[in-house]
């Protein structure tokens, strides 16, 4: 993959004794949406900071847009850091002009682009207000504009959707999808699995500073095979559960209460499981062999403990 926009080779970063990123290699191809997934403390933000040359790796190498990571690339990259921050006392439009300037735009150009973006993100009329007068979600949109207004060929977003309501979340998701559609590259980190599943072409899952899963989302799912069954119970849950305990049929159960997703055991298949459930007297309203969700893949690769921590985060965010 020589047309990689970002390439990391065996990158290690340690902070006073603890290893934040341990030998991470990844390659982000040009175009499309690339997801960097993992629970808190997995090393996502550290990885992104190294890509942005805010931190330098202790070992290994990083190339961005074909060159070693450096500040000179800044006009070609848009960056939304995990820690949001704007000058509170500045007017929104002035602030965007300033951010545009630091990305190499001329003032007039920056001003007209900022106006266009403000109206695109439903912030018409807020340009003359001070940043501190805006709600948190609005401020996040302003910062989002700041990262995108110079039309960078690579966009790096650290947890772009956290803390947003569903409406704003959708607006920003549409923008991200548009960027990818125009042939540019988006790298974003998240710990919300189904969001990544819906948006990303390729993903890397990291846990404890190491890569667990890497590849195109479709390939990853295919590799896992059609070994997952999703079912919804109408009645007789207890009887159904007894069947699901059978290790000859089921390798792993993700019980959601009224529904469950199970991974079939080696040698078992869908019809056999369905027969067994009906034989046991379980009432099913829905039974389907499905592609595994990223979440279940993640759980089987990372372990239930890390996954639980992540699920809690996702709930807290939602």
């Amino acid at each position: 993959m020589h047309d990689a926009v970002i390439r990391m080779d065996n990158v290690v970063k340690r902070f006073s004794g603890h290893t934040a990123v341990g030998g991470l290699s990844l390659s982000v191809p040009r175009g499309g949406i690339f997801g960097l997934l993992g629970p808190n403390g997995a090393g996502k933000t550290t990885t992104i900071r190294m890509i942005m040359n805010i931190l330098t790796p202790d070992e290994g190498s990083i190339t961005v847009l074909g060159r070693p990571a450096s500040r000179d690339l800044s006009p070609r990259i848009g960056f939304l850091p995990e820690e949001r921050g704007l000058y509170k006392k500045m007017e929104v439009l002035e602030h965007l002009v300033f951010l545009g300037e630091t990305k190499g735009l001329r003032r007039g150009e920056a001003r007209s682009r900022a106006r266009t973006w403000l109206s695109r993100l439903d912030l018409d009329g807020w340009g003359g207000r001070k940043v501190e007068d805006l709600s948190k979600g609005m401020q996040q949109k302003v910062q989002f504009i700041g990262a995108l207004m110079h039309e960078p060929e690579l966009v790096v977003l650290d947890e772009p959707f956290s803390g947003l309501d569903p409406v704003n979340s959708r607006v920003m998701k549409d923008v991200v999808v548009d960027i990818a559609r125009s042939g540019r590259t988006v790298l974003f980190s998240t710990h919300i699995m189904d969001q990544a599943e819906r948006m990303c072409d390729r993903i890397v899952i990291v846990a404890r500073g190491e890569k667990v899963v890497d590849g195109a989302v479709a390939d990853i799912k295919r590799e896992e095979g059609s070994r997952h069954v999703r079912m919804t119970f109408a009645r007789g849950q207890d009887r159904a559960r007894r069947v699901l305990q059978d290790r000859h049929l089921v390798a792993e159960v993700h019980d959601h209460g009224a529904s469950a997703e199970v991974e079939l055991a080696e040698g078992a298949d869908g019809p056999r499981l369905l027969d067994a459930l009906i034989g046991a007297g379980a009432g099913l309203s829905h039974f389907a062999v499905v592609e595994p969700s990223l979440e279940s893949i993640f759980i089987s690769r990372v372990g239930a403990q890390a996954a639980a921590a992540m699920a809690m985060e996702a709930t807290a965010d939602a």
């Binding site: 040359n53 805010i54 330098t56 500040r71 820690e83 921050g85 509170k88 951010l99």
Partner: protein, 437 residues
């Protein structure tokens, strides 16, 4: 360069537009006017003359003369020529003690009306030879009033002693007239017509201005760095702007605000002193009162030295403040961390004062080459006598190198410090950051 300009513009515009700047800029000159007018107003303050009783127990003319001299004493200001003392003479030969006791009972009693006495001077025949006079009064705690009394009485005693010895007092007074030194400064072989005192005063004022500008604006550089860390905008900026650019932009931006404000104030001062006569008139004082108030005129070379070292000193210390800011996570933390910098500034000021006795000595020469104190020391030395250009150039060069070194070190601390959220930097950390890639 583009980035530095963007940051300079941002720092400048956001500061100049604040209410605080506008109010500060207006209030500064207002304060100046008040300071200018206050002495005039104070001089006009209505103060009643002090009621002094001269209790003469002696036989000579001394008591009488003292009473006359005190009664003739005026308040020694142009704006106020009223009598300083209201004098009663009491001949008390033989019954001094009794009279004094009864007078003391009237002294300092508020509701005694016109009979109230402020102080009693006791004179007897031993006064002239010994020079000792008893004074009991309510105002003995005021050094100003006591020295005024002494100033009035001393020549009188001397005069009496001289006449008693048969010497003509007026002859002695003439002979004792002190030397009056008229000073003119020589600069590069030419008499400039300005007095050395004036240019020293200006150098002194400039040092004070640098001191206050640093305390006011240098701290702003520091606070703005800390603020940026707390709003976390740094992470966006640091990916496109280098710490060196960031720092330079901040120091220059805040520095321009400082210069603008100081310029406005200096302009006001100039206007005030140019029209000092009419302005004094507004307060009801005669133009002669304010004739001595003014900005000394200086040559262009000295102005260049002053401005140059002012700018270098400001850059140097602002960069130090920025470095302190990048080590801290909150404004509270900076209170402690800035101590060394503030102490350096104070040290610079103290060195400046220390050099006044020997501005061309070896110590002065060495201090001109220490970047921490040079901005205070060198202009003052220059104001005494123009330094050889080599010495001036060396001092300036040391300052420029100092500024670059501090900005460089500060940028390094900045680079790592801005991302070390939530952790207070130890000295060892800072040393490591400076070495860090």
């Amino acid at each position: 360069m583009h980035n530095v300009l963007a940051i300079v513009r941002r720092e400048f515009m956001t500061r100049v537009r604040t209410r605080a700047f506008v109010i500060g800029t207006v209030i500064g000159p207002l304060l100046m006017v008040v300071l200018f007018a206050l002495p005039i107003l104070l001089q006009r303050r209505q103060t009643a003359p002090k009621h002094v009783v001269v209790l003469d127990e002696g036989t000579g003319p001394l008591g009488r003369m003292m009473a006359d001299r005190l009664a003739a004493e005026r308040r020694d200001t142009v704006a106020d020529s009223r009598a300083r003392y209201l004098v009663d003479y009491v001949a008390a030969a033989g019954r001094g003690q009794a009279l004094r006791d009864s007078l003391v009972s009237l002294t300092g009693v508020r509701d005694a009306g016109p009979a109230a006495v402020d102080g009693i001077l006791s004179v007897d025949d031993s006064t002239a030879p010994s020079g000792e006079i008893d004074y009991v009064g309510v105002n003995v705690g005021s050094p100003a009033e006591m020295s005024a009394l002494r100033r009035t009485l001393s020549p009188l005693i001397i005069q009496v002693r001289l006449s008693e010895s048969g010497v003509d007092p007026s002859l002695v007074m003439r002979a004792m007239r002190p030397v009056e030194l008229q000073t003119f400064k020589v600069s590069e072989g030419k008499v400039t017509g300005e007095s050395g005192e004036a240019s020293f005063l200006l150098a002194y004022i400039m040092s004070m201005m640098l001191y206050f500008a640093l305390l006011l604006y240098g701290m702003q550089v520091m606070t703005s760095v800390v603020e940026e860390k707390s709003t976390r905008i740094m992470e966006v900026l640091v990916s496109s702007v280098s710490p060196f650019q960031m720092l330079l932009g901040k120091v220059i931006g805040v520095g321009s605000v400082a210069l603008l404000q100081l310029g406005l104030w200096a302009g006001t001062a100039m206007v005030l002193t140019t029209f000092k006569g009419p302005i004094a008139g507004l307060f009801g004082a005669s133009p002669a009162t304010v004739a001595d108030i003014g900005i000394p005129t200086i040559g262009p070379d000295m102005l260049a030295v002053f401005l140059g070292f002012f700018a270098l000193g400001f850059l140097f210390y602002s960069a130090l403040y920025a470095a302190v800011g990048s080590m801290c996570n909150s404004v509270q933390e900076t209170q402690q961390a800035q101590m060394p910098v503030t102490m350096c500034i104070a040290a610079g000021l103290i060195c400046m004062f220390a050099l006044l006795s020997e501005p061309a000595g070896p110590l002065a020469r060495i201090l001109s080459l220490v970047p921490f104190v040079a901005p205070f020391v060198t202009p003052v030395r220059y104001s005494f006598s123009p330094l050889p250009w080599t010495e001036l150039a060396a001092s300036a060069a040391v300052m420029v190198l100092g500024v670059l070194a501090v900005v460089w070190v500060a940028a390094r601390i900045y680079r790592v410090g801005i991302l070390s959220y939530g952790k207070k930097a130890s000295l060892r950390d800072v040393a490591r950051w400076v070495r860090a890639e």
